[in-house]
């Protein structure tokens, strides 16, 4: 079956863009509006998580920590969406266990290239 990608972002338009792009490439995309919702969605099968860093409730860094602390989710690639001004946050995310990152804004091809790099 198609690989499942979870997009976590409080901005619906970013989620939509991610979903458009990735479902167009044959992935199944599910959505979550913040870290807490993402953790709920992660109880089902997910092959890749793409998360924003700034979100209400549970933010991206918190989400990455929680995922990495969960043995059931071992090795699930996590891509964080950062902006140029968030270098420090990016390092924090990497330390928490993120697999890679995409600097916002990004074009659909860039997203696809990154997803392909970590998911195949």
């Amino acid at each position: 079956m198609a690989k499942v990608i979870l997009t976590v972002d409080d901005s619906a338009s970013v989620r939509q863009m991610v979903k458009f792009t990735l479902s167009g490439a044959g992935y199944t995309v599910i959505e979550a509006a913040d870290g807490n919702e993402a953790l709920e969605k992660l109880t089902g099968p997910v092959n890749l998580v793409i998360t924003d860093l700034n979100m209400p409730n549970l933010d991206g860094i918190g989400l990455i920590r929680r995922v990495r602390a969960n043995p059931a989710l071992k090795g699930v690639p996590i891509i964080m969406l950062t902006t140029e001004s968030q270098e420090a946050r990016k390092l924090e995310g990497k330390a928490a266990g993120a697999t890679g990152w995409i600097v916002k804004p990004f074009a659909p091809q860039q997203l696809l290239a990154v997803v392909k790099r970590v998911l195949g």
Partner: protein, 696 residues
Amino acid sequence: MIDKYKQAFQEEARELLVELEAALLELDQKRDDAEVVGRAFRALHTIKGSGAMFGFDDIAGFAHNLETAFDRLRNGQLAATADLINLSLAAGDQIRTMLDEAAGRGAADQNRSAAILAELRQLTGAGGPQPDGESIRGHAGCPLPDQPVPTPAGVPPEARDWRIRFRPGPNVLLNGTNPLLLLRELRELGPLRIGLDMAAIPSLGEINPEHCYLAWDLVLTTAAAPEAIRDIFIFVEDDCELTVEPALDRDAETSAPGSVAAGESVPARRGVAGLGTSSNLRVSAEKLDQLVNLVGELVTVEARLSEVAGRREDDDIREISEAVGRLTAALRENSMTIRMLPLKTTFERFRRLVHDLGADLHKQVELTTEGAETELDKTVIDHLNDPLVHLIRNSMDHGIETPEARRAAGKRPTGTIHLSAQHSGANVLIRVGDDGRGLDVEAVRVRAIERGLIDSAARLSESEVFSLILAPGFSTAREVTDVSGRGVGLDVVRRGMEKLRGSIDIASKPGEGLTVTLRLPLTLAIIDGLLVRVGDAHFVVPLANSLECVELTRQDIRDAHGKHIASVRGEIIPYIRLSEYFRMETARPEREQIMVVETEHGHYGFVVDEVLGDHQTVIKNLGRLYRNVQVVSGATILGNGTVALILDPHRLVENAVQSMSQNKRSDGWRARRNKSVDRQELKPTNAFVQKGKQNR
């Protein structure tokens, strides 16, 4: 596909510009309101972000500079001055011009963009915005696939060998990195020779299975720049040993800094920018639903008005009533077309599904579509997706054979699934056909008996047997696969169609394939109908199905020797007398009327007492109790407050024809029919119809 997003971006950006303008004007009043600055910043941020995503690089680059300024404003590094606000307003206008240009209206003056940015730099001081939009792309850790990293100007890219040493850190696997994928990506740059270094693997007892102990020595032949090679490892380079060096000789690296356009002063443009240039408007579906509901109410009230006006001998009221009637009809038609969408998007989505399922099932399947431009009510389309997914899955899994089996059967190894849509009166027919192995009538029958769906003595027609596969939990599949076989699929289709007041027909030839036809109403809300009277009851027949109305006299009936046949303009039309069909005890008038209707079975006549005329019909659902009634597709409220049933001519004719042939086929049919409860649930027949038959 991408054009759709571009369109969406255009619309979104225009809305954001309005928002930006509002924020800027507010900021002019309240210079240090952080909330207002935040709003302006977010608007610019989204324009920039989405712009870059959808290929509006110039707009994104332009907005980026403004965004940077507002970021500094937000952080208190910059003060909101009148000049800055005016310049930002001008910049917003410039973005709008750029949007117009992208939409093919007019041309944006690039010098003006440069001038605005130059002035912005002046206002915000050194260390401010970046000179151009180059930073927008190529920062995401991946160069675009179609934009290879540029080689030094003038030198044609020449393939050369690079020696790469890659030793990932021990924890890369835990962080979700798959080194294999990185090697695969490297190979896309050119021929790759791979040497594996296993020296670091400890003895078995000491191995941590979650650690990566491997290292690779690679030689890559590529024309790509070393940056492109390093770029592949960007996510892991901090946690790994990575060296990239030319295997032979070394080229001097050059870089060409971009030149900056000279600034010139920008005359600030004032006044309201032209609004309403967008030719499309996004409206929430909820509002449309409300509109349709209101129009529905209006149509009902209009029916009352015309009823009342018709009774009064008052020309003024009559005239007004007619005018209101015309307007209501126009309004109704208009609000319905707003909700119509082509099926194209829905169809296109299935290409992916077919492709993926084909890969999963190891079958070669090709999807062909026809009539994708057919338009349907949005609500109908929304409910159509699930049933179609299930039908396609069913065809892919059970219908289409493996390439080997197809070859053995003398077919093309690639199977075909054909999706088509076409109008038929007030309905749309959607067909999902495959050229697979088809349905095995006997297997379905056996399975249905096993499951107690039918009596083993039941003699059913082929199409009745096929309809059994729509029962909940029905599956002839030997084993449950990922794709289907749990038997939930076709039940979903059946329930989906019930919800849409549609119907399902299944046709199949063993070895040649299966075609499922979904018959759907064009709209779920309001239709044009012809109001008829039988005794003191009223019925509505969809106008789209009606051909003509003619009189049927006693003489005509005598001429046909009691057979239910009439000659209409030289054509022999079989007819159904509704009063008999529905077993209504009414006196037959001297002159009856035949309504000739068009169905998929040909032309038929419905004999009624009187044809009253056009009726704009607001469709109301019958309650759950009448869910199984097939010949009635709904009800409507008449001007005088009474209820008229809306007939489904196709079903009515089908039912009548079927019951006639079944009555001939078997005398015991009626008894069995009453006994077999399961079957009745499965193939529901109209309560009226049953009464009608017992009467005969």
